[in-house]
Amino acid sequence: MALLEVEELSVTFRQRGKRTVRAVDGVSFSVDAGEVVGLVGESGCGKSVTSLAIMGLLPRGAGVTVEGRADLDGTNLLRVDRRTMRDIRGRDVAMIFQDPLSSLNPVVPIGRQVTEVLARHRGLTGDAARREAAELLDRVGIPDPTRRLREYPHQLSGGMRQRALIAIAVACRPRLLIADEPTTALDVTIQAQILELLKDLVRDSGTALIMITHDLGVVAGMCDTVNVLYAGRVVETARRRPLFAEPRHPYTVGLLGSIPRLDSSRGERLSPIPGSVRDVLPWADGCAFAPRCSRRTAACVGEPPALVLTHTERTYRCVNPVAPGEARPGAAAQGPAPATTTAGAATDGSPAGEAATTVPPAPREEESA
């Protein structure tokens, strides 16, 4: 039984005088205890909205419709009332945001912002809370923590602020931590510090982590399971190593081919995905990626591609996937993929053969079975 089970999550924004936007369009994934799960995608793929929906932080009413389920230990987070949600937030689920300066209250000292959480969820007050807060800051690598408690957010550097934010998030030892682009605003050397810190926290405390990022490099170093999102749907899910070794969905392949790698040499051309994230087909009309896809076939348009499940813990949403053995653009020194991975690999020439293995509704259950 997974810790968090998100099923067919959809978020629709309706605004007066504007087009209805389905920001999240049937996202399903699960997170086990102590697992690091990545949600990867470009701008507009719905990764941040997904996390806000799970946290219950989307504005209620006001043209926002949230459908589907997000079960945390059997409690559907999308259906609980505000009071319960407030208790769950911080205690069971905590979130780290991209911009640490705007997520911290600028006129309240760091210490108070930490002890506030401790008081609310763990009932700690006075000296006990302050001691615990200092310990937390120390744990996230903030030097001289007792003095730091009295300082204000603007007195800390970007990296230190993000550490303080992480300290607040882990103050109540939540079972699930959601990090939304936690290092995007930071420099690489600081990013490395923060990622290392997050890794340590997950390893030591057994907290599950949902890592939301656009950076496949970050994913490669951190996540156990990776969900690739495009236009509000998960298009591919796999364990970390198989995903990078043999991506199946053309979008994943395209993303990997787009990234200049530190270990590739000068002059190697990248193989970008044509078009832009704006060229999207509504999922109801077929595969959203079809307008930009180099492997498009007639079968891609008409109805949404179903989720295909291979028996290697991998799902993808494509009728004409990339074969596991096919040369991966951008990757220089990868040996040929092991032939044992997918039984359906041989039938790659005929997309129909793949489509026949389609398991439409709940692939997740099958996977855990």
């Binding site: 690489v188 950076d215 490099g217 490669a220 990078f244 993303l255 000068r266 990757a331």
Partner: protein, 382 residues
């Protein structure tokens, strides 16, 4: 007009006659005064954004400038283009000394050196359509006899950057991020420049779009023989696109090496740390590699540490020389590096130790950043 004509003549001369280096920067400094006071401004200090940089950009090549935010790389790029007046030092562009050029001659020179900006939205005037954006530079330099001739030039440029012709009558907000960056590139290209300074040309774009723009820049260089100065924080991007890479830290170059060489054997401790911090989208690599985690943050450029500027965070810092003597950029093999101990570090004679995280003060408080280099067991971070 006659002056411009001579400039044009100049550019058509064969490359060999004019030397192989398009840009030569010597001891360039840009210091911004920090002022206080209500009625009368009182200078209370200087932010040394660029503090003594020497660099040479060979004609037709790409020089990559990499560093973290606040290292002065953008200021350096703008100072080379004279968009910010340098405090001291010289910038020699194809035999012409730019720092002493009168304003109107400098303005005429701008045709030969153009800039591409990070944020394609904010660098395009939202009230201009694409045609007017592209025509503006042509008008400023009197290029193109009439409207038709300009139109012809613009259409060709649009084609070169991969934008459709219907883009001409459109406004920036009607395009996607990648297309906007193409407009920005077209604006730079339409004047037929020799040098293009690209300041974080892809960092505001989506991953899949970044590759399109990087490839476009590569293709344009092949076709037009452009010289690039690419400024970015992403080492992977810089390394991919550049022939020579300069690494900046706190207003100065700490290492300069051919792109492949820099990757194969980084000599400066900061380059090593930077290299080890860049995530690689490959779990095999990620799991194998060892990270050099730097402690603490960048010291304030208003009050840089004495001696080597990196010594407060350097895992290889030595008790002698590092804190007192500022290392100069000196040749080591095919690289240039500003480290007293580069050879010893490269040979493994010196081992890294961990540096305790320093207290970071906000910029205006100006405490001298200090750090205690105390040896402790490796991996004791956090």
């Amino acid at each position: 007009m006659t002056r411009e004509a001579t400039v044009t003549d100049d550019t058509t001369a064969p490359a060999a006659e004019r030397g192989d280096n398009l840009v030569e920067v010597r001891d360039l400094k840009v210091h911004f005064p920090i002022t206080r006071g209500i009625l009368f401004d009182r200078v209370v200090g200087h932010v040394k954004a660029v503090d003594g940089v020497d660099l040479t950009i060979p004609r037709g090549r790409t020089y990559g400038l990499v560093g973290e935010s606040g290292c002065g790389k953008s200021t350096l790029g703008r100072a080379i283009l004279q968009l910010i007046r340098p405090t001291s030092g010289t910038v020699n562009f194809d035999g012409v000394e730019l720092t002493s050029l009168p304003a109107n001659r400098m303005r005429a020179m701008r045709r030969r050196m153009q800039m591409i900006f990070q944020d394609p939205m904010s660098s395009l005037d939202p009230r201009q359509n694409v045609e007017s954006i592209l025509v503006e530079g042509l008008q400023a330099h009197g290029i193109g006899a009439d409207r038709a001739a300009r139109r012809e030039l613009i259409t060709r440029t649009l084609d070169a950057v991969g934008l459709p012709k219907w883009a001409l009558s459109r406004y920036p907000h009607e395009f996607s991020g990648g297309q906007r960056q193409r407009i920005g590139i077209a604006r730079a290209l339409v004047l037929g420049p020799e040098l293009i300074v690209a300041d974080e040309p892809v960092s505001a774009l989506d991953v899949s779009i970044q590759a399109q723009v990087i490839n476009l820049l590569d293709e344009l260089q092949d076709e037009l023989g452009l010289t690039y100065l690419v400024i970015a924080h992403d080492l992977a991007v810089v390394r991919h696109i550049s022939d020579v890479v300069g690494v900046m830290y706190l207003g100065a170059l700490v290492e300069e090496a051919p792109s492949d060489r820099l990757y194969a054997e980084p000599l400066h401790p900061y380059t090593r740390a930077l290299m080890s911090a860049v995530p690689v989208p490959d779990p095999e690599v990620e799991d194998r590699r060892e990270r050099i985690l730097l402690s603490g943050d960048l010291p304030s450029p208003a009050n840089p540490p004495a001696g080597c500027r990196f010594h407060t965070r350097c895992p290889w810092a030595q008790p002698t020389r590092c804190a007192e003597e500022r290392p100069v950029l000196r040749p080591v093999g095919t690289s240039r590096v500003a480290c007293h101990w580069a050879e010893q570090i490269a040979s493994g004679e010196l081992r890294p130790h961990s540096v305790s995280t320093q207290v970071v003060r906000p910029k205006d408080e100006g405490d001298a950043p200090h750090a205690v280099s105390a040896p402790s067991e490796p991996g004791s971070f956090v």
